[in-house]
Symmetry: C2
Subunit: 329 residues, 2 copies
């Protein structure tokens, strides 16, 4: 049987408020002897505080809300796992919500998390946030709960944020293809619907410019980060006679490679492909796909650390940019 | 600025308790006119209830705890996503914890979720629970929070549970290999450390028996469901001259296939391999791996439905067994 705080107070011959103050180590005028007695009684009877009651006293919930666009996506499931690990080590639990990568869900889910009284928010917003910046800005201005934008930002330095240098990633991938001797390098990316995609594209642009290769707009394809999107663009890659492809993620690279093989093309001999994410599945299934790697563990660690600092009003550096690395094999 | 319940009560000239009762639609003697006035004031001032305070009044948290062994595992990330979807549709939020598949973490995480006052629990316990059944039984007997065991059980019908028929899955996979004409069929499974593995092994055993093929214990290999585990056993598969393998999951099948190819063996011509999980990566990366598929969406849906029924004391059928299907391609 669970003992209530009332029963414990009666046993100790004190008020409920006194028990609450003592067990939550709040300052009070209660004598050390009485404090010790109450704590021992609580231990003896295996008293478990009612969380809601404690929250009202301590004004904290020891819970952090994590907003994810798609928990099934390998990058985000790894991120969620790392965040949960880090939070637990800091004594916090994770309230996880999934937006299905839709801005409308973001807005209502963030409000919902705030109303639930989470102590802090880790926000990976939907890709289509790029088209609804004003709504996010208004919402974030309004909430009092500390938050950190994780991986995806609004491109506004005033928000606390931890993200990867996507321009560097796009640059590294394209530079590799140039160094391999390719000139007709296509790019499969979502540059208008995703800020991270836009910067990966800027990196592609920069690498071409530095190598004095003209950018051909016909070789820039719009992709939605799914396998099918790579599969369907591969025909045009062949008809445009491109000799290389920088795909904005590994899934689209897989799709392109599958279709290229069906079309009788050899990868990388006829057309070389690089991806983004460096998924372990490539190697498991015998594909050597050069790819840009983002250290998701560092992303989780730094995001939680920044949030903890913000919650203590101790954040010094509010923007943390992590560097991706290029993995040839 | 957020309005507090105190300020709202002052405005309406009533007590805090009255406001709480009215906004939570609890029975009271308050007149309909006053109720309407309080609700309108709350709306006018965009009053957002303090969640902890509301929880104390309603005795619910509108939160469900989900215990996962490994959120990075594709099966569980898909499960978490489906569970979150289902819960949201039912007006609940998800508190997610990850045990790293270790029973010690399970025990403390379940206690922690209960102390946080979740309204219900969805528990996918660690594989090594099989060795610590008594601890789980004691814990589950003790807690008052409704719970459902999801995918992994203690093999005790008294617990509310939703899981797949693993014996059927093992049977279907092995039967397929027998029908293909194979006689020397190996099995890579964790039969002693996981209850689901044990039943998949029982299915393998049953299929062999029904086909009057003797089971050779030397062809039963111990696997831990990771890629490396399949990779490392493949040499013995060859030295034992087996002509087929039933792998307990796709990751181990990937490992075995990779090594078999390195050893100069053709799959499926020399050695045929079947997996379990039917991961979409196989097809994306050009591998045709026959595999047992478990409908994770149905698992999430049924688990949440059973928990909701238990929370309303309306559960009729407390054990739900789902059937896996075999996918040839």
């Amino acid at each position: 049987m669970k003992m209530s705080i009332k029963e414990l107070a009666k046993l100790a011959n004190v008020s409920v408020t006194t028990v609450s103050l003592v067990l939550n180590d709040k300052p009070s005028r209660i004598s050390e002897t009485k404090k010790k007695e109450i704590k021992e009684l609580a231990k003896l009877h295996d008293y478990q505080p009612n969380f809601s009651a404690r929250n009202l006293v301590t004004k904290t919930s020891k819970t952090i809300g994590l907003l994810m666009p798609d928990i099934e996506n390998l990058f985000f499931s790894a991120l969620a796992k790392n965040v949960e690990d880090e939070l637990r080590q800091n004594g916090y639990s994770l309230l996880l919500v999934n937006s299905d990568d839709m801005y409308k869900n973001d807005i209502s889910l963030i409000k919902n998390l705030v109303n639930r009284g989470v102590d802090g928010l880790l926000l990976t917003i939907a890709n289509d946030a790029i088209k609804h910046k004003a709504q996010y800005e208004t919402l974030l201005e309004d909430i009092k709960t500390p938050y950190v934008m994780v991986d995806r930002t609004l491109g506004n330095p005033k928000h606390p944020q931890v993200y990867f240098d996507n321009q560097l990633g796009g640059y590294l991938a394209t530079k590799y293809l140039i160094d391999q001797g390719h000139q007709k390098i296509a790019c499969l990316i979502s540059k208008d619907k995703s800020l991270n995609g836009y910067y990966r594209y800027k990196g592609y642009q920069k690498a071409l410019k530095m190598a004095h290769i003209d950018l051909n707009e016909q070789w820039v394809f719009d992709g939605d980060y799914r396998f099918q999107s790579g599969y369907h663009m591969a025909d045009r890659l062949v008809s445009q006679q491109c000799d290389a492809l920088f795909a904005g993620n590994d899934l689209m690279a897989y799709g392109a490679i599958k279709r290229l093989k069906e079309l009788g093309k050899k990868v990388p001999e006829d057309i070389e492909v690089v991806g983004y994410d460096n998924l372990e599945f490539s190697k498991m299934l015998g594909l050597n796909l050069p790819s840009v790697e983002q250290n998701v563990k560092a992303l989780g660690k730094q995001s939680v650390a920044l949030l903890m600092d913000l919650m203590k009003n101790q954040a010094i550096n509010r923007t943390i940019v992590l560097e991706p690395t290029f993995k040839k094999d």
